[in-house]
Amino acid sequence: MGCFASIRVGYAPTLQLISEAQEGRLAVPTQSSGAEGRDEQHQSAALLRRCVAGDAAAWAEIIQLHSRRIYSICYRFTGSQDDAQDLAQEVFIRIYRTLKSYDGSRGSFTTWITTVTRNLLVDHYRSRKNERLTDSLDASPSGNEDALTLGERLPDVSPGPESHMRRKDRQKMVQAALGRLSPELREAVILRDLQELDYREIAVILKVPEGTVKSRINRGRTELGRVLQRTYRQA
């Protein structure tokens, strides 16, 4: 992912951020539509042909190639290991049942399996709508204005020399903040910043125009940064 300098947003000049981005300190997501993506596509197509022909080893290889990515998407979206396992399993069950109906002309296998994953995540989110936490981070639990808000009660993690525990805390905090985003913004930033899919592919998966994809990514990043900045400032 590259090495990022510890930037204290709000203290460093904005131009410094732009210069750092130009110097390449901010990692550029790799485009999956390059040569590497084409090779992966060819490999997946060959494996799929063998799967349809009844080759069990080819199916196991497909699982091995994609299980980590699918599980990662499910985990980052749901925030739960158990839900992520169940959903990932369900994704592959659906793929296995509809292998013969897959048409390579409509898109790559990666796009297809990610679309199935995304649809399952949306269904899962809707089915658990009532259990979802809807309180914003700025709302106090008891309604008392003087009470600590949810954002204020986040774990105290201050930037500085990171020990193992602080890194783990930071990971949990970012995951928690990601879980606070709306599903539309959450899936957009996950597919772009974590899965490194290109805008065109994300647009096909989300069934929205590329402009909408970029807008959602911007809003997702902005909201996430705002929440985490507030947390650091209060620490």
Binding site: M1, G2, F4, I7, V9, G10, T14, L15, L17, I18, A21, Q22, G24, L26, A27, V28, P29, A56, W59, A60, I63, Q64, S67, R68, Y71, S72, Y75, R76, Q81, Q85, A88, Q89, F92, I93, Y96, R170, Q171, V174, Q175, A177, L178, V189, D193, L194, G211, K214, S215, I217, N218, G220, R221, T222, E223, L224, G225, R226, L228, Q229
Partner: protein, 255 residues
């Protein structure tokens, strides 16, 4: 003014380019204009800062650890077949011990249970004891027959020697008895004499002096008791006959 006209950017355009700018994917010219607008517009500058911070935090997330059982569960859920272990693992050469263990395990399964451990331990110790008593050396299996034979004959010889020794002892005892029988037997019948004497005295002398006769009888009885006790106390297997021989001898004499 001229610079703004040349490089001017509206906030809408700034927002459209924000995604690529944060990722560092803009060209040199566009970056200049982008930078210039951020320097003049505080709202856009704040958006840029927050978007960059959020992007950095997301990129700092570590790779998710895959559960160890996920692939297995997926295979079972899709194909319904338990994934077989790698053929190479099954075909690893097994030693004769491993093959024997694999063959014996199903046979001994009913026996190899915790509740059978005590019984097996007792059986083991019993067998060990028997083997030790029989003189079998399991380190040399070919000598088991000769070992058993040797043990048999050595035990037999010991028994024979024991009984031979006993025979000699009994013969000696018999000889001693004979010698004793030839000796005068003063203390052989202490009890009948005082009684016989007393009867004679009673018959001959009707004047019974109570005091001396009972005393004499008592004294004789005491002597008899003392002699009996002395006889019993001085008895040793090597010097005199055992009590059952005395009883046998008395029985013969009385008969």
């Amino acid at each position: 003014m001229n610079q703004e006209q040349q490089f001017g950017m509206e906030c809408t355009e700034f927002e459209a380019l924000l995604t690529e700018a944060v990722e560092g994917a803009l060209g040199e010219g566009q970056m200049q204009r982008f930078r210039a607008h951020a320097a003049t517009c505080p709202v856009c500058a704040t958006s840029l800062a927050e978007a960059t911070a959020g992007y950095q935090q997301l990129r700092s997330l570590e790779q998710v650890e895959l559960p160890a059982t996920l692939m297995h569960n997926i295979l079972v859920a899709t194909t319904g077949v338990e994934p077989a272990s790698a053929p190479t693992e099954v075909r690893v050469h097994q030693s004769w011990m491993q093959r024997m263990e694999a063959w014996l395990r199903p046979v001994l399964a009913p026996v190899l249970q915790p509740r059978m451990a005590g019984a097996l331990a007792m059986a083991f110790f019993s067998i060990t004891l028997i083997v030790n008593l029989l003189g079998i050396d399991i380190r040399h299996p070919d000598s088991i027959g000769s070992g058993i034979t040797h043990t048999y004959f050595s035990t037999k010889s010991r028994i024979v020697r024991y009984y031979d020794s006993m025979k000699i002892v009994y013969e000696l005892q018999a000889g001693v008895r004979e010698l004793r029988s030839l000796l005068p037997e003063e203390s052989s019948q202490p009890e009948p004499q005082p009684k016989e004497q007393q009867e004679k005295k009673d018959k001959n002398n009707k004047d019974i002096s109570v005091q001396p006769q009972p005393e004499e009888r008592q004294r004789n009885q005491n002597y008899a008791q003392q002699s009996g006790k002395a006889q019993l106390a001085s008895y040793t297997p090597s010097q005199s006959a055992p009590p059952y021989f005395i009883a046998e001898r008395n029985r013969r004499r009385t008969a």
